[in-house]
Structure formats: structure tokens, C-alpha cells
Amino acid sequence: MAAENGDTIDTQFEIVTPENIAFQYRLAGPFQRLPAYIIDVLIQVVAVVAGYLGLLLFFGMLRVPFIGVGLGLVLYFAVSWFYTGLFEALWNGQTPGKRLMRLRTISADGQPIGPAQAILRNVLRMADCQPLYLYQVGLWVAACNRRYARLGDLVCGTMVVIEEPQYRSTALVVTEPEALRLAELIPANFRVPRDMALALSSYVLRRRALPWNRRVQIARHLAEPLRMRFGLPPQTSYDMLLCAMYHRVFFASTPGQQAAVTRPVASGEIAVALGVTPFAEGAEVNAPALASAPNVLPTSVGPPSERPAEVVVAS
């Protein structure tokens, strides 16, 4: 079911389901996996040392300390060879280190890994970590294939992917009054083509991470022709114009109607769609009019000015 990557970005891996839908995973490279590995090694060391001391103490009190030594060695064997494998088998592809670093091992066809895959790929770690636990073999093998698979991954048909942070199902809201004002000036008969809509939403999602002059630099390419076409004054902010376009495409139900700010009904509606991307949390969504819970009925919503400014995460 795994599809060739085609023209996607090379850290994404596409899976085609029987429903003929392609969804993407983000692959984890060696240097995303290294911190998880170090955490796991530390946990193993602590587990072996603590377990060994505990066993010594327990069997020492029973006056048979050497049984403690023997069991300690069995524990050492089990942990050093099977710790990662057993965790990945039981925790659906995650070890404690991977869970902390938000990584997960899955099959190359997108399914969760089975216990045999989990254990085998970690036994073969011994080949990958050569020479001298420097992981040169694993690193070079991973560099030579598309899935960043080390030898153990190649044998088991597995890959390590990055668990996406919880994306929300909602769109980002533009609240700048300037943008809302500009949105009204855009002619009603202007139709936004699909790729422009995509470019607009990509821009609005990322603009907060950009400094002001960078925004201008990027936005100018699209905003300048638009400004000319709409006949807006030359001092119009490119950044705000694109926000206005975005608002027009995604929110305003009819051009010229400022749904977001003026009507309580609409403000409830907008708040549902609030601020909910990884970029947006907490930023610029503090306009009082937008701060209502998603499922608050319009009748219970007071005038905008009475409600405290807060960020509502719609989920």
C-alpha cells in the first residue's frame, strides 16, 4: 500500500489506503531519533542498576545474595536485548524515549508494527550500532534510503515517524480591524482561484512567525497586483490586504458583511473556528468579540465588550 513519494517533500511518506486516499507521515531522521535513543539508554541503565541493587538487597536479606546476582544478570540480558523491542510491541511502536520525543515506529505500509517486527528490529540494533556503538552502519544505511531506515528497519519493513502535534480541525481567524475593513473594499465579483486560496491560507498561518519586513517582502508579490486591480491607495499594507483576502475567502459569507465582529451569532461561529493551529495559540486572538465558547448559544452571549479576553480552543 505504500506509494512512491513522487513529488512530495522528502521527509514525508505517503500511504495509499484501500479507500484510495493518500495520507502522509512525517519521517523521523537520525537526529530526531538520537535524543529518544539517549533517553532510552539512560532508562535502561537506571533500570538495570536499580533492579540489580534491589535483587541483591532482597536476596541478601534471604541470605542467598548470589541468586540476586544471577537474576540481576538475567535482568541485564533481558533489558539490554529486549527493552526497546518489548516496549514497542506493547506500546504500539513507542518506547518511553520515543513517547517523550513524539516518535513512533510503524510498518512501511502504514500499519502498526507487530511484536515480531518490534523485537527483531531491536535485536538487529546490534548490527546497526557497529562499530563500537557509534551507529555508523545504521547512520549510513539510513542515509541511503528514502525511509531513513537502519538495517533493522529494512529487515522488518518498518519506519519511524513523527507524531504530529494535535492539529485542530478548525481554521484561523483574522481579527485585525484593518484587515476586516479592507475585506469590505474587495469587489464582490472578484473570484479567488483555488491555488490563490491555498497560498492565502498558507501565508496567514505562517505570517506570525515572520518579522514585519519579511512579511512585506513575501506578501508584495501577490498583494501589489491585487492592490492595483482593486484600486486601493498605495499606502495599503500588503500584509493586511492578504489577511483581508483570506477573510473574504474563508469567512465572510457575503462580501461587505462584517460577520465576525458585528453579530453575536457570527461571533459564536467564528470562535468555533478560533485560533487553533500550532502557530496561532494565544496570538492575536484576544479581541473580546471572539472570546466565546464554541457551543454557547447566541442568546446567552452578552455584548462583546462585557466578556473577558481569552483564548478559546475549539475542541
Binding site: I67, V69, F77, Y167, S169, A171, L205, F250, E269, S315
Partner: protein
């Protein structure tokens, strides 16, 4: 239709699918009722359709990302691989595995290499002066001689159990190491097999030359069959894995490697079990003061078990 309205309309579905995913991820599938499964499948298809139409709907990228993640999660629940099944594994280890191993050319190769080099270096260690010293090293030999002066004078139960733990850690670890090294195009496996065989064979030969009596042969008799077979099995599995990159049998290299990997897993379980058995015998029976014929009996019995497994279970016609 504007995006916000669309999102409002679809969000209920997505949220419900997410809740079900969380539920399914947390527990065994068998406990999920039929209606829930059917409903889940419907929700999943809905999310798939939304993702397919994301472009046409003008969905913003973050929503598309969300949908990718949601569909991926649901897909993993719907098309889950089989979990661990004890009955299946029993069949695998005692039915399919011996038949496979009986016909496994790499196991034979490992067997021939191991025993060939073992016997040859045993002869050299016995007949040629200085061979053992140059292969194993003087100090190593002396400490082994010392160790085996009275290695069968009995230990108490406690020390015996401690040694069982030591042998599991050391020997089973070496076995897994042999397996993993086979991955280097099989050459690694050949190297490890030969170096183990030469090392062990030389010590055997050298111990026979000593004028003073040692307990060496008394000590190694009982656990020998399991331990040496364990090494051969592990090395063979490793070689098979490594050579599958070269001799693909008509598959792509990657697919050939994955097939060999799937087949090798039960073998390493078998190998580890053999090492466990050997460790128990080595820790408790080998060093004991039991008369030699009991140890020979243990060796005979374990050899008979191995013949039963590899030959009698193995030669049955395959499916």
C-alpha cells in the same frame, strides 16, 4: 459554501472518529461491539472523502494536516495487524520452523562450517605445538586450565543459580550477536561462525594435551549439545538474513530481506531457548559431583531431543 460552514458541518464526524480512535487504541479489539465497528468504518470513509475533497473545498493547510493525521490514526485501527497469538506461535515453533530449518541451506552451511573448523582446530590444538597459545592466547589458556582443575567438584545450589544467570546473559547474548552479525551480507555470519568454532575447537584440543588431569571434558559434556547447536542455529539464521540481500530468489532486494527477516524471527526464539536450556544445565548439572554417566546421559538425551526436532519433525513433507 464557505469553509467555516463546512467545517462546522463536518467537525462532529471528525470529533466522533477521534474519540473512537482513542477508545480503540486503548484496548483490545475483541471488546468492541459490532455496531461500533460498522459506525467507525462509516466515519472513517467520511473522513477519507473529506480529505480527498480538501482541495476542492479550499480547506486550509492546518485542517488538511489534521485530516491526514486523523485518517492515518483511523486507518491504523481499521487495518490493524494480528496481535500475539500463543497457539499460532506453538505451531510456528514446533511445526513449520523445524520443516523450514530441515531444508535450510544456510543452517547446513553454518553446521558444516562450524563443525569443520571446530574439528580441524581441535586437531591442531592437540597436535601442533604452540597453536593453541597463538590462537587463544597464553593467559586465557592458563586461566581456563585453572578454572577447570576442579570445575566439577560441586557447587551449592545458590552459586549454581547465580551461574545460570551468568550463562544466560553471556551465552544467549553471544548467540544474538552471531545472528545480528550475519546481516553483513552473510560474510559477517561466516566470520563469526568460524571464529567461534576455531576458538572453542582449539580449547578442546589443548585441554586434551594436558598432562595433569582436569575436569574440562567432564564439565562440558552435559551442556555441549544445546550450546553448540544454539550457536549453529543463530549463525545460520544470521547468514540466511545476510545472503538474502545477495541471493534474492527473484524478489527485490528489500522484499527478499523482509521475507528472510520474517522467517528468521522464530529461529532466534528457538536459538535463545536452546541457550536457556544450555545455561540451566551448565549452571546446575555440569559442575555437580554427579557421576560422569549421568552427565553423558543428559548429553545423550538432549542430543536425541535435537535429532527429534531437527530431523524427525523437520523431514515431514512441507506444505
Amino acid at each position: 459554501m464557505k469553509v467555516v460552514a463546512l467545517l462546522d458541518q463536518r467537525r462532529e464526524n471528525w470529533r466522533e472518529l477521534e474519540t473512537l480512535c482513542t477508545r480503540f487504541e486503548g484496548r483490545r479489539r475483541s471488546k468492541v461491539e459490532a455496531e461500533t465497528s460498522v459506525h467507525f468504518a462509516a466515519l472513517y470513509r467520511g473522513a477519507c472523502a473529506d480529505l480527498a475533497l480538501a482541495d476542492a473545498y479550499h480547506l486550509p493547510p492546518n485542517t488538511v494536516n489534521y485530516l491526514h493525521q486523523l485518517v492515518g490514526r483511523a486507518h491504523n485501527q481499521l487495518y490493524r495487524s494480528q496481535g500475539f497469538n500463543v497457539a499460532n506461535w506453538f505451531d510456528e515453533i514446533f511445526d513449520r520452523l523445524p520443516r523450514r530449518l530441515y531444508r535450510d541451506g544456510f543452517l547446513r552451511l553454518a553446521f558444516v562450517l562450524f563443525w569443520g573448523f571446530f574439528l580441524a582446530s581441535m586437531y591442531l590444538g592437540y597436535a601442533s605445538n604452540g597453536f593453541a597459545e597463538s590462537v587463544v592466547g597464553e593467559d586465557e589458556l592458563r586461566s581456563m586450565e585453572e578454572m577447570h582443575v576442579d570445575s566439577t567438584q560441586g557447587r551449592d545450589m545458590e552459586a549454581g543459580l547465580a551461574m545460570v544467570g551468568y550463562y544466560i546473559w553471556n551465552n544467549a547474548g553471544i548467540g544474538l550477536w552471531c545472528f545480528a552479525f550475519g546481516l553483513f551480507f552473510g560474510v559477517g555470519g561466516i566470520f563469526i561462525t568460524i571464529s567461534n568454532a576455531v576458538g572453542l575447537g582449539t580449547v578442546f584440543g589443548h585441554m586434551a594435551t594436558l598432562s595433569t588431569e582436569t575436569d574440562f571434558f567432564n564439565f562440558v559434556t552435559a551442556h555441549g549439545p544445546f550450546e553448540l547447536t544454539g550457536i549453529v542455529v543463530m549463525s545460520g539464521a544470521g547468514m540466511r538474513l545476510g545472503f538474502s540481500i545477495v541471493a534474492t530468489g527473484g524478489y527485490t532486494r528489500g522484499e527478499s530481506l523482509r521475507r528472510a527477516g520474517r522467517e528468521s524471527f522464530p529461529t532466534i526464539i528457538l536459538g535463545t531457548l536452546l541457550f536457556f536450556g544450555a545455561a540451566v544445565i551448565e549452571g546446575l548439572i555440569s559442575p555437580s559431583t554427579l557421576p560422569y554417566w549421568t552427565k553423558a546421559l543428559v548429553a545423550t538425551a538432549s542430543s536425541a531431543l535435537l535429532v527429534f526436532y531437527f530431523v524427525l519433525l523437520g523431514q515431514r513433507p512441507g506444505d
